[in-house]
């Protein structure tokens, strides 16, 4: 999954999609995930990083990450993985 080019994320978590004009607020963990996506980390790498950093069950994290990715896809912020 890749963040679309030109999508801008500010330090305050304000995310602007210049192709649709939509803007969103992302919480600090969301920002971390988007930054990792920008660095082309895989889903597994993102999960591993967050598991190490936060006190969270793997199952819960995987579910939350999937929900978050689904939302990013719905809002057109990311390009879905090519099959």
């Amino acid at each position: 999954m890749k963040v679309k080019k030109n999508v801008a994320l500010s330090d305050s978590g304000f995310l602007f999609n210049p192709s649709s004009g939509e803007s969103y607020s992302v919480n600090p963990i969301g920002q971390e995930i988007i930054k990792m996506l920008n660095e082309e980390s895989s889903e597994e790498e993102i999960i591993a990083t967050l598991l190490e950093k936060y006190n969270v069950e793997r199952d819960t994290l995987e579910k939350d990450i999937r929900d978050f990715f689904g939302m990013l896809e719905l809002y057109g912020v990311v390009k879905p993985e090519e099959a």
Partner: protein, 350 residues
């Protein structure tokens, strides 16, 4: 001393009200032009058009006859104003006045040396709301189905067949979404009493409103184009805030329209983007929109480019602009001395 030329430019559309004309936005862009200085002549239809009293934007105002008075009366009035002001360039900013100005274009240029950059009469008529559906079919552009109606009976039958909600539109201005046959009838009367017949019934398309403001050179080249997404819409359907967006599909569609139609002059394309990502063209306005100052803010002074085209200067097409620039409209109370109102009301000049 500046070596830039100083142009005297006349502008209509000074009705900076809640459903604003484009005049003030055009003037703001003219004032920021890098390649020339300006003196602004306001042309008003009503005594209380706010632009008439905005002396920091408009140097002198003159009343002009309503479009219904005809071309000759308009020409005579412009000849009188030109005798005093020596106008170099004129911006007609209302749909309803464009027919007269297009017809007068050659005479104004040859006899009064007033230049304009306008679409041809053929381009103007072809994109008219009543012809837009055929226009879309001809140029392979998705346009919501629309039908002209002249009577209550036609309206009921057409709206029923098209289904509700349906958009009820005037031939020049006004559009309302009707959810029931009663509402449709109500809007039919409301609009026809103001703008006459026909009324257009258009299929309602759900989605996000996105518009493009641009300029065509008349030879198929887009001189500038900036797409904007409406962020705040008034009860009259006007954008009160918007943001420039970098929508490649919209820009490609715009370039294609300009190339195929050889569009000359300013334009606004109004689209609805559906949740499936389809673009439906709702209207082509043959003039700058009231939000055109955003294009200047985003780095393309299209108003300046249009003047330079009209003055015979070479203008390079611009592709770059900043996405994420916003405009937020506001209203303001000006304090005006009664003597000023008296002057424009009695002698038609201020």
């Amino acid at each position: 001393m500046s070596d830039k030329p100083k142009y005297t430019i006349a502008v209509t559309g000074l009705n900076a009200i809640d459903s604003p004309g484009p005049g003030i936005a055009v003037i703001k862009s003219l004032k920021e032009a890098q390649s020339f200085d300006v003196r602004i002549i306001g042309l008003s239809y009503e005594n209380l058009e706010p632009g008439v009293f905005m002396r920091h934007y408009v140097d002198k105002s003159y009343q002009v006859p309503f479009p219904g008075a005809g071309m000759e009366v308009l020409f005579e009035r412009l000849a009188y104003i030109n005798h005093i002001e020596q106008i170099d360039f004129l911006f007609p900013n209302f749909d309803a006045e464009l027919f007269n100005y297009i017809k007068l274009q050659d005479r104004l240029s040859q006899e009064l040396q007033i230049e304009m950059v306008l679409p041809t009469l053929e381009q103007f008529e072809a994109r008219h709301k009543v012809n837009l559906y055929e226009y879309g079919q001809k140029y392979d552009i998705k346009v919501p189905r629309s039908e002209m109606v002249f009577t209550e009976a036609d309206l009921s039958a057409t709206a029923k067949e098209m289904g509700f909600p349906a958009v009820i539109k005037g031939k020049f201005y006004d559009a309302y979404v009707a959810y029931t046959p009663d509402q449709a009838l109500n809007y039919f009367h409301k609009i026809s009493s103001k703008w006459g017949l026909p009324i257009i019934v258009q299929q309602y398309v759900y989605g996000t409103e996105v518009n493009v403001c641009g300029v065509g050179d008349g030879h198929g080249v887009t001189i500038g184009a900036v797409p904007m997404r409406k962020l705040y819409i008034t009860d009259k359907g006007k954008a009160w805030a918007g943001v420039s967006i970098d929508d490649e599909e919209l820009l490609e569609g715009t370039n294609k329209m300009v190339e195929r139609t050889k569009w000359r002059g300013p334009f606004e394309l109004e689209y609805m983007k559906t949740s499936e990502g389809d673009y439906y063209l709702l209207e082509i306005n043959p003039r700058f929109p009231a939000w055109c100052y955003l294009t200047t803010g985003a780095g393309q002074n299209q108003v300046e480019d249009l003047v330079n085209i009209g003055m015979g200067k070479k203008v390079e097409p611009k592709k770059e602009f900043a996405a994420g620039k916003m405009f937020v409209r506001y209203s303001e109370d000006m304090i005006v001395d009664l003597e000023e109102f008296e002057k424009i009301s009695t002698v038609g000049e201020l």
